[in-house]
Structure formats: C-alpha cells, structure tokens
Symmetry: C2
C-alpha cells in the first residue's frame, strides 16, 4: 500500500510500504477515506533531522473497517469510523477518567510499529477502545466535519473546557490555525460572551467570525496585548486558549489573561522552560491548563451537532488533494497558502 513518510525537514515522500494487517487480536485495519495534515505535522517538517529510513506521518483519519482481530467486539467490516489522534484501550483508569491520551495501554500513531494516517490504510491497535463508529455512508458530505473530530475540533474543545469557559466568559484565542478556529467554535458552544481571536490572516479570522468570534485582533506582542486589554475593560480575559505552541504565544497569553484566569494550552509547546513565578502566574493566581487533547472523550458529545448540521467544522479544510499530492500539501500549509489540507487516498 502507499503511505506518507517524512525523512527530515522539508522532505516528505509517498512510498510503497507493507500492507496494514492485523497483528494483535485487538487490532482493526482501517482503509482511509479521508486524512489530513495537521499544524503539528509542520514541526517535524521544519526541524526533523535527516534520516535514512524515514517514518510514517499523519494522525487524523476517518475510514472504513477492512478487517478486525478476534477480540474486537464492537466493530465489523464496512463500519465507517473516526480515529482519534491517540489510540487507547477505553478501559484503564485514565480512559475511564476521560484522559485517553494517558491510556496505560495506549499510544500515538507513527510509533512502536503503528503507522500513520496519511496512508491508504492503518492498523489500529485497541480498536474497540479507539475507534468511534458513525452511521454515515462512505461518501457522506459530512466526512470533512467528521474528520475534525479526529483532532482539531476535539482539541479546540479541550482548550475551552480546561479553561472552564462557560456562560459569560470573556475568552481570548491565540492563533488562527484550524485548532484556534475550533477553539472559537467551542468557546461559543460553551456559552462564552466575548471571544477575541488573535490572528492576522484575514481569510482565517473571517472564518473565525463565522464560528463565533466577536472581535479580531491582528496585532501581536505588546500592541496586541494592549488592544485585548482595552476590549476587556482593562482587566484581561477569564480564559486564554493558546493554540500555537511557540513561546511568544505563551508570553502573549500572560499579557492578556485576567487575575484569577486560566491559560489553556493546546498548541504543542516548542519550549521547555517559561516564566511561572510571582510576576507571571503566581502573583495573579493564574492557572495553567491543557495538553494533548483526549479527543476520544469528546467525540460522542460533539458528534450530534455535526451530524445534524448545527455546526460545520469541516469548513477549516480549504484544500483537498490525493495521496500523491501530500508533499505539495505540506508546502501549501507551510507557506500558509492553505489553512488545512484534506487528503483523499
């Protein structure tokens, strides 16, 4: 079968790899209907050291069950399923608590012999715990929106939930990528009164307004912070949803958060240490939350609104390509010609 491999920064290739087959009785094999390229895929695309063997890439997909192992009880050949960006058994203490990204018997795609989503098919470990069956046909026009439940919608929702966004909240979202836009949608879904989107790509922030942003601040750094503070009566935001991951975004979050507020991070931090002392978090009782979203915990909750068209998160996809065009898709996202690229293998 064909799959996407990354060999180093800027070096993404489509190659023939061994077919995905059942290895464990708890596995399923899923033929990919739609996958996509994530903002976080751009991190290795920017900085991965050159390798000889390459590794598979991609962690978001919807597909059709092709085969199941002997112990799989809830899925059958032909089922359309959503795959979260982490696989998990669904039964361990962390899964029961809704933190499937810390599953004791789980893991992430593209590691430990498990492949990636930007491929024709994927072997899915712990299939019963991992996959969510959806009652739609293979050619459903809802596939793009369902695909967002693999990662970006659930990740934006995680940001808002962990920031304790609720009715009346004043929220600032940092970043106008797909996750930032999903954070906007999620904050409004949870009842936020004011949602300020910090981003400077008009096509994206316009979509953010459609998703419920009440204000857009294009400025960054001190200038952006001053504008947000002005929009929040000088006090700052109850909740800051940080959907970028760079240190500058964290510093911006510190500038726009209100005393007693929460900074909720879902952008993969590209730094290790940062200020958390008296002058930053502590003195103002600011909380820090977030992490890799256990999107598996949110799929059932978010699904009905997607199925009945109340929300249309699939609008984040502004480009659809075939598997062979994936290297171009990376370039398009890297150069910000595309917001988010959908891949139809």
């Amino acid at each position: 079968m064909r799959a996407t491999l990354i060999y180093g920064a800027g070096d993404v290739r489509i190659e023939n790899v061994p077919d995905s087959v059942i290895q464990q009785p708890t596995d399923a094999v899923v033929r990919v209907l739609a996958a996509c390229i994530c903002g976080s895929d751009l991190h290795p695309y920017h900085s991965m050291k050159p390798t000889e063997k390459g590794r598979t890439i991609g962690h978001e997909f919807v597909g059709v069950i092709e085969d199941v192992g002997a112990d799989v009880t809830t899925l059958a050949r032909g089922d359309v399923v959503i795959a979260p960006f982490a696989w998990s058994d669904g039964t361990c203490v962390f899964c029961q608590e809704g933190l499937q990204t810390s599953c004791l018997h789980g893991g992430f795609w593209n590691a430990n012999g498990v492949g990636g989503g930007q491929a024709e098919a994927v072997r899915v470990p712990q299939a019963d715990g991992t996959l969510v069956k959806v009652d739609v046909p293979e050619d459903s026009p809802l596939l793009p929106s369902l695909l967002t439940l693999s990662d970006v919608y659930g990740t934006g929702y995680h940001a808002a939930l962990k920031a304790e966004v609720g009715p009346g909240s004043i929220v600032t979202v940092i970043g106008d990528g797909a996750v930032g836009l999903m954070a906007v949608l999620s904050a409004r879904r949870l009842g936020a009164e004011q949602v300020i989107l910090m981003g400077r790509h008009t096509v994206r922030t316009d979509l953010g307004i459609d998703f419920g942003a009440t204000h857009v601040v294009a400025e960054r750094g001190e200038e952006g912070i001053a504008l947000v503070r002005e929009l929040t009566g000088g006090l700052g935001s109850h909740a800051v949803l940080e959907a970028v991951g760079y240190r500058e975004a964290y510093d911006q979050a510190l500038g726009v958060v209100r005393p007693g507020g929460v900074i909720s991070r879902v952008g993969m931090p590209q730094y290790t240490d940062a200020p958390i002392g008296m002058a930053s978090l502590f003195g103002r009782n600011i909380r820090l939350a977030g992490g890799p979203a256990p999107v598996r915990a949110y799929i059932e909750e978010l699904l009905p609104d997607v199925l009945d068209g109340t929300v249309d998160p699939g609008r984040v996809f502004d480009s659809t390509i075939g598997l062979d065009e994936v290297p171009d898709g990376y370039r398009a996202m890297d150069e910000r010609r595309a917001l988010k690229v959908l891949v139809k293998p």
Copy 2:
C-alpha cells in the same frame, strides 16, 4: 508605638515608630492582640539587601479596633477582628469574585505607607472590606486558631481548593511548615482519601498526622518521588499541594503528580522560570494552580469549625513571645527550633 523593622538579611529590630492613626475615612486602627512570624518572612530574612531606613514587617494579626474613620460602617471601637494578609475593599470585581489579593483598590501590608502586623498597632485601609469581626473576648483561648485565619489556614485551604481536592482524592502535600500542615487539614476537610505529607521534621509531621495525614514521606528528590509513587499504585497523586516555594519543591511536585492532576502552589516561588513543556506539564495534561491566597474569601467559611473546636489549627504555634523577643523568634524559626512563633505585643 513599637514595631518590628527589617533592615536586611538577619537584621530585625524593634523600634519606636509614629503611632498608627486614621489617615483615610475608610481606615481603622487596630491594636494588635496577637501577630506571628510567617515562613515567607524568612525570605527577606535570608536575602534582603542591607538598607539604612529599614521597613516594617509582619502580615498576620488579630486585634481590637481602637479607632475608625468616618466612612467605616461595619466596625466599632472594641470589636475583635481578624486581619487577612492582604487588605481589600470588598466591593471591586475581583473581591466579588473572591480574589481579594487582586483587589483593584487593595494592597499588602508593609508597602505604600501601610505598616506591618508585628507591631503594637496597625492602620488598616479599607477596613470594612478587610477586617472580619469575631465575637470573642480579647483574652479568648481561641486567639491562636483565629490568628491562623489571617494567613496559614486560609492559604492551606486555598491550595487544596485550587487543586480541586474532594472526596476520594489522593493528595500529596510538599512541606511540613505551618502552611503545609494547614494544607493537610484542609485536604481532609474537603474529603481527601489519602494525604501523603512530605516532610522530615518529626515534630511537624506528627502534628500533620494529627491533622489528618495518612502517610509521611521523609525522603526528598528522586527517592521521595519513588516512595510517593509506590503509595499511589504507581500512578501519582491527583493533587499536589506545594507549600515550600523553592524550585526543588516544584520539581518534586512534577515527580509525584498523576496525569490529569493538579499542582497547586502556595509557597511563594523563589524562582521565575521552570519546566512547563511537553515532558513536564503539557504531555500529561497536568494543571498548575495557586497563588497568594485570598484568605479574606475563606474566613467566614472556616470560622465556625474554629469557634466550635472542630479543628484546632492554632496548634501550629509552638512558641509565644513578646514584641521585644521578635528578633529571637526569627532566629528560632530560621533554625527550625520553632514551627511557628506567636507574638503578643
């Protein structure tokens, strides 16, 4: 009147200073019945640069109203009152939200012309918002316990509350100082099932057991972390209450916290930057909470159990001295000969 001034590291003096008098119509003057020395007073005692003028010190006291300004409506001469470690108007948006340490018109003792608690009397700004009247006589045997509501009990409670401790929680408290012990008491009050106290001073940890600690771990660093993980089934604690403030304590907290758990800090951080990236907080969805406790918000809630003897937080005081002996009191606390020193001016 006489007051305590600190001139630099190790240099604490008792001196005559101008009497505390009403300056604003919202002021009260409080004659101090009991004050104390705080673990956080030891920070300037260790590191303050020498000064010529010195500054007042002390931020915990109970006393009697001696005089009130024209606008004070809820207090009268002769009232016994508890003073929180921050003064606040009680009416601003942050006070209404229970975050009096961020009061828009408030502040802290020993700054901006406001004196300190280790003195014969104190001018209290925003007296109606700041002080809590208690219906006890001036010589009540409950004074030590009431005095803990000025800071340490409310601070320990803040740690537990912001760590979302509740029935069934597994809690680790780092630090066996007065705040750590109050965090133990508070965690049990909130229903914690297991409370592991990390501390190595037997007199203190024994008191911790009386306050409800289920286990004591005297070891520090990697060894201490391993023991806590063993006590928590290898998973770590839902809540870590960090009552020290040194970077080592934060690192220890990272080691004993469970995925999805909370590190709640109430020890004043003696560092600015620390790890918050993928390998520390983010990857495991660990939240960071805490800050200067808005103890004013908790006094009414914690008071009944103190008044009826359900809890006896005043047991943290193991030494009582007069104002002239305050320099000795600092030495005793610094050398850990005393857990917490009560001062009767």
